[in-house]
Structures are given as structure tokens and as C-alpha cells.
């Protein structure tokens, strides 16, 4: 059957076809707004970031530290046992040197997104950015430290840490 098919359906258009208005287009800008409740786990995690501290939670059954802090352990499916303060230092688990932004646009200067294993967490990483370093000198396993926003500018968000720099 398949061999017999001569013409496969589908009509490709190029950017030129669009520019030449070869086809009609309609435009739509969705007006969707959300305000998400942080709840108990993330709520305290962000409140602590505002104070310049990284807090996780701990499950005493699997003995894991959970980051970002949350109130139940997904592995044991039970409520966590305690809150634990962690250092604002860590090591790079993996990283990228990104020359494109989230809308696929080119960036003049690359950013260095990374997973940073937080010291004292037993190797649990959070997602963040690395800076104050030549991107091509960054290595997996490098030690880094958080660079915080000035206290009065913090707002209880992940961006209260501006980035991490090698130490």
C-alpha cells in the first residue's frame, strides 16, 4: 500500500509566501492572566530567600533533603519531618552556555544556566544562573557561591539570588 502512494498530503508554505500575502492570516493575542497560590512549601521557601537563606525540607524515611522546599516527600508519599537550612554554596552539576533566549532569539552575551548542587543537601540541585566568570572556563564540579540581591530589593522570589559565582 505505502509504496503505491505517489503524493503525500500537505502544502508547505515559506516565509516568502507569508510576506507576499499568498495566504490569509488571522491574529489572536490571548488575554490570559493567572495568580498562582504558592502554598505552604514554596511559600516558606520564598519567605526564607527574602531573608537571604536557602531552606529545604527533610524526609526521615528516605533521608533525602527536598529542594525547592515542599511539604510532602514524593518518593515516600508522606509529610516531611523537618525544615533544614542549607548553605548558599554548592557545586555545578551541569551547565550550558546559552546564546539563544527563551523565544529562540540570539543573545549578544551568553548566559550560563546551571543546576547547582546545594552544599549540605546530599547532592540535590536547584536551577539557577552562573556569572562573574569566563563561560568557557566553567566546568562540571566547580564550586560556586550565591550572589544575593541587596536586602531591601528582595521580594521573596527565586531571583532574590541574582546568580552564582565560582569560588
Amino acid at each position: 500500500m505505502t509504496e503505491k502512494i505517489k503524493v503525500w498530503p500537505g502544502t508547505p508554505l515559506s516565509d516568502k509566501d507569508l510576506a507576499a500575502k499568498k495566504v490569509l492570516l488571522t491574529e489572536w493575542h490571548p488575554n490570559l492572566k493567572y495568580a498562582w497560590d504558592t502554598g505552604m512549601g514554596y511559600g516558606r521557601y520564598f519567605a526564607e530567600l527574602k531573608k537571604g537563606r536557602i531552606v529545604g525540607t527533610k524526609c526521615n524515611k528516605c533521608r533525602r533533603v527536598l529542594l525547592p522546599a515542599r511539604v510532602f516527600c514524593e518518593w515516600c508519599f508522606r509529610t516531611v519531618d523537618e525544615w533544614v537550612y542549607l548553605k548558599d554554596t554548592g557545586i555545578i552539576n551541569t551547565f550550558s552556555i546559552a546564546y539563544t533566549g527563551s523565544m529562540a532569539e540570539r543573545l549578544k552575551e551568553p548566559v550560563i544556566p546551571a543546576l547547582v548542587e546545594i552544599d549540605g543537601s546530599g547532592g540535590v540541585a536547584i536551577m539557577h544562573l552562573i556569572s562573574e566568570v569566563d563561560p568557557w572556563k566553567v566546568k562540571i564540579g566547580m564550586k560556586v557561591k550565591a550572589v544575593w540581591k541587596p536586602e531591601q530589593k528582595r521580594e521573596g522570589a527565586i531571583t532574590d539570588i541574582m546568580y552564582w559565582k565560582p569560588i
Partner: protein
């Protein structure tokens, strides 16, 4: 020959207009924990598969199922998402258990409707991008048009529709989980602000937050784990024409075909005799009447009369929406259908407290996917 499948555990959080104290993850966790406790199962050990029912834009997250496994104990297990109403999830579990591949399965759906700040635009966003979006009116006009056509085709009156709102909000006063219970009169409804003529404000359900989880099992496991299994006798679902231009505006064809399928699976020939009570979709008051007719729970065109004569009250022959329905409980996004199933299970277990119905064996739950969709699902449950 179908395998027998039972609901052996239910868990839910109270249904409330806002729930600022919990994230959606914590809400799911709470409902799941209650369901697993009720079923006497450990999700990590005993549950073979999980299904969650969520739509991306409802929650404001693309690929929402990224966030699902952690909150219901499904990490590194079989779990998938249906962007569909919760009764589709129930039907999905019914099918998977019937393949023999899984024995115990959990179904989850939740609403965080309070976090969605522009609900009218959300509905508009579901319209056909070429034909309908450019019209950009408040899309609830569709409900007004549909109601108008329904009244015209059946001779049902606006008063009869309004009585549905009176009944359901009163029923909700006896349901401690309901968000919008109220003692209102026919005049209150008819005098309430006209929204999309002939639809008035009190005939439209308001959104609520809440999470629901259910545990289903095959017959052997159901008997081993539970002393009060509620059997899933039949499931059905159907999509009618999606476009506004081609649909049947007077009848709920999707509900009729979904009902027919569920009756066929359940072996029910005469629904009016065999169904003891029903929880049907009442997103808008007239929808309850339209759905009762589609499901053959009354004669064609007579649902309005039936309500007027009190034939759907709690102590009548066919109690409808004793939970309070969406008008009384609140509309729970994709969990709306599961709330209907939940009420049927609670009633069939005899655990409904002051709103308990006497002597009920077979109940029906039905959902509609909401504006502007033209599809829905049906489940028929029984305690024997």
C-alpha cells in the same frame, strides 16, 4: 465479557471559592492521601497506574502533566494525563483494568479555578481560531443561544429552568463540602441580573477550587481491599460536532450518545426504571433539563414539567443533583464530573449524612466539558 471494576477509595478537599492556603500540588496531595487511606492502599506499593484529568490553559501551564506524578504518589510509575473531564479518567481506568494489565488504579482531577483571573477570555481562547475567535464577544453568549433554542424546541419555560437553581442551591445547604448553598426563591432567580438572555446570573454556576482522587480496582482486589465497593457498571463518552456552525443547538446529542453507550455497557434497557438517582451536569440551570432528556431519564420535552412537579427533589422518584450540583457546589473545572461521581459513591455507600437518600442501588453521573465544547461522559455506578 467485561471484568468487574469497583471504586474502593475516595478522597477530596472541601470545595471552596478560594484556597489561598494550599498550592495545587498540596491540594492534590491532601485529596490523594485521603483516598489512599480510605482504600487502605499504599500508592507506592499497591497502585499500578494513575490518570489525571487536566487542561493546560485552565491552569496556566503548558504540559501540565509535568507536575502530576509527585503529588499523587506516582513517581516512576505508569501515569498519564487526559485533557478531559474526570469521568473520562474514570472510563480510562475502567478500560485499563479491563485489559488485565493493571489491577488497581487511581484517578485524579482538581480545580484551582480561583487562580485563573480571566475566565471569559479562557473560554474565548477555546473557540475556532479562524471562524469564531475574531468575533471576540463574551463567549457565554453560546449558552444563551443554546438555552433559547432548547426552550423553543421543547416548550420548557424560563421558570422551569430557574427552579433548577432553586433546588440545587437548597440541596447544597445539606452538603458540608459545597461552596454555594443558599435558600433562594424562584423570583430571586428570575429577578437576578440578565446575563445572556434568557440566561440569568443565578442560573450560572460559579467556579470553586478543590481536588478529588479515587481508587479503582478489579473484582478480586476490590473484595480483598474493601468491604463497601461501589461497582462501575457502565461508562460512555462522546463528542458531537465541535463547531458552532454545525451543532444541534436544541439537544445535547453528546450526552444522549454517551448515555446510550454507558447503558449498553451496563446492560440497562430502561433507564427511568433502573436508575435510582442522578448527578447530571448543571453548569447552567437549563443544562440539567437538557441532559435529563438526553439521558432518557424523562420523556422528551418533559424535563421542565418534571422539575416543576417536584419530580427531581431529594425525596422524589428521581432525585437529581442532591449534592447541590455545580450550581450549589461550584464548578470545578475538569474535576466537575468527578464531583458528580463522588456524590454517587457517597450515596451508594450510605455515607451522605443528612442528605442521604433512602434505599438507592444504582446512580448515574454525567459531565459536560463546558463552553464551548460539545462533548461529555457518563458513568453508571451500583452498590451491588
Amino acid at each position: 465479557m467485561q471484568r468487574r471494576v469497583a471504586i474502593i477509595g475516595i478522597g477530596y478537599t472541601p470545595f471552596r471559592p478560594i484556597t489561598p492556603e494550599l498550592s495545587f500540588k498540596e491540594m492534590m496531595f491532601e485529596a490523594a492521601q485521603r483516598a489512599y487511606e480510605d482504600a487502605g492502599v499504599c500508592p507506592r506499593r499497591d497502585i499500578d497506574a494513575f490518570v489525571t484529568c487536566e487542561e493546560d490553559f485552565t491552569h496556566g501551564r503548558s504540559i501540565f502533566n509535568i507536575h502530576m506524578p509527585d503529588n499523587i504518589g506516582a513517581v516512576l510509575k505508569r501515569i498519564h494525563t487526559l485533557p478531559a473531564d474526570g469521568i473520562y479518567g474514570l472510563a480510562d481506568a475502567y478500560m485499563l483494568i479491563n485489559t488485565g494489565l493493571v489491577d488497581v488504579m487511581a484517578v485524579e482531577s482538581h480545580s484551582k479555578a480561583s487562580n485563573m483571573l480571566t475566565p471569559n477570555y479562557l473560554v474565548a481562547h477555546a473557540m475556532d481560531p479562524v471562524y469564531n475567535k475574531p468575533l471576540a464577544y463574551n463567549p457565554y453568549f453560546i449558552a444563551g443561544m443554546e438555552m433559547n433554542r432548547f426552550l423553543c424546541e421543547t416548550g420548557t419555560t424560563e421558570e422551569q429552568c430557574a427552579l433548577v437553581a432553586v433546588k440545587n442551591k437548597a440541596n447544597a445547604l445539606l452538603n458540608p463540602q459545597a461552596a454555594y448553598g443558599d435558600r433562594i426563591t424562584l423570583d430571586d432567580v428570575l429577578d437576578s441580573e440578565m446575563m445572556f438572555h434568557p440566561l440569568s446570573r443565578l442560573e450560572m454556576s460559579a467556579p470553586a477550587d478543590g481536588g478529588i482522587v479515587m481508587v479503582l480496582a478489579c473484582e478480586e482486589k476490590a473484595y480483598a481491599l474493601s468491604d463497601r465497593p461501589v461497582w462501575v457498571r457502565g461508562v460512555g463518552w462522546c463528542s458531537d460536532a465541535p463547531s458552532l456552525e454545525t451543532r444541534d443547538w436544541g439537544k445535547a446529542v453528546y450526552a444522549q450518545l454517551a448515555g446510550d453507550m454507558a447503558y449498553r455497557v451496563a446492560g440497562i434497557g430502561n433507564p427511568r426504571l433502573e436508575i435510582d438517582f442522578a448527578e447530571v451536569d448543571d453548569t447552567f440551570a437549563y443544562k440539567e433539563l437538557q441532559h435529563l432528556e438526553a439521558l432518557r431519564l424523562c420523556r422528551p420535552g418533559e424535563a421542565g414539567l418534571m422539575v416543576e412537579e417536584g419530580g427531581t427533589l431529594r425525596d422524589s422518584e428521581l432525585p437529581v443533583n442532591v449534592s447541590g450540583g455545580s450550581l450549589g457546589v461550584g464548578r470545578l473545572d475538569e474535576a466537575t464530573g468527578l464531583q458528580k461521581v463522588l456524590e454517587v459513591v457517597i450515596q451508594l455507600r450510605g455515607e451522605a449524612g443528612s442528605r442521604q437518600l433512602d434505599d438507592v442501588q444504582v446512580g448515574l453521573a454525567q459531565s459536560w466539558r463546558g463552553l464551548p465544547a460539545n462533548s461529555g461522559a457518563v458513568a453508571i455506578l451500583s452498590n451491588e
